[in-house]
Symmetry: C2
């Protein structure tokens, strides 16, 4: 199992806007080989931001990597949001292999 | 769904020791109401450490919180490892609610 996470620091008060972006978004993941599940996660709120993480579970790292080179990936990222004022910096990617 | 993660920064070269600690550990989670799944995840390697995360999926935040006050929790943490030299600082807890 491989878990791909992107960590987003969202300005305080913009949490609902950020969640709505993900509700409205079409990810086309259901059609992708090796895809298991997707969730948007809301984490702790700090002094100047709330942490969110996209959380996608894959059968393997190679299934994830194939997806990043696929048409489904391009389609899912074609309409990237212009709501720049809600983000404190770019997302930080972290990929995890299940070892236990 | 609620995901409880603890982030561990492990000294380079100590990755196998850290994984072995988790292989040997009895978590007693199977018996806990609201528990769904547990994995130890290995993340990216940086200049001075490798990131790991414990990743426990719960039915709800309240199920997780009940567990932290339970005998099963005390049992699971009774034999905390003395291998202090493998950790770069204490673990950092992050709890996440699935919002999408």
């Amino acid at each position: 199992m491989y878990i791909a996470m992107n960590r987003f620091r969202i300005a305080l008060g913009k949490e609902k806007t950020f969640i709505q972006i993900w509700c409205d978004r079409e990810t086309y993941l259901e059609e992708v080989p090796g895809f298991r599940s997707f969730n948007l996660l809301q984490g702790p709120t700090h002094e100047d931001h709330t942490l969110f993480a996209s959380h996608t579970v894959w059968e393997s790292k190679s299934a994830f990597e194939k997806w990043t080179k696929s048409d489904a990936f391009k389609k899912a990222h074609a309409n990237a949001s212009p709501n720049k004022d809600i983000y404190l910096g770019p997302p930080v990617f972290e990929g995890f292999e299940a070892v236990v």
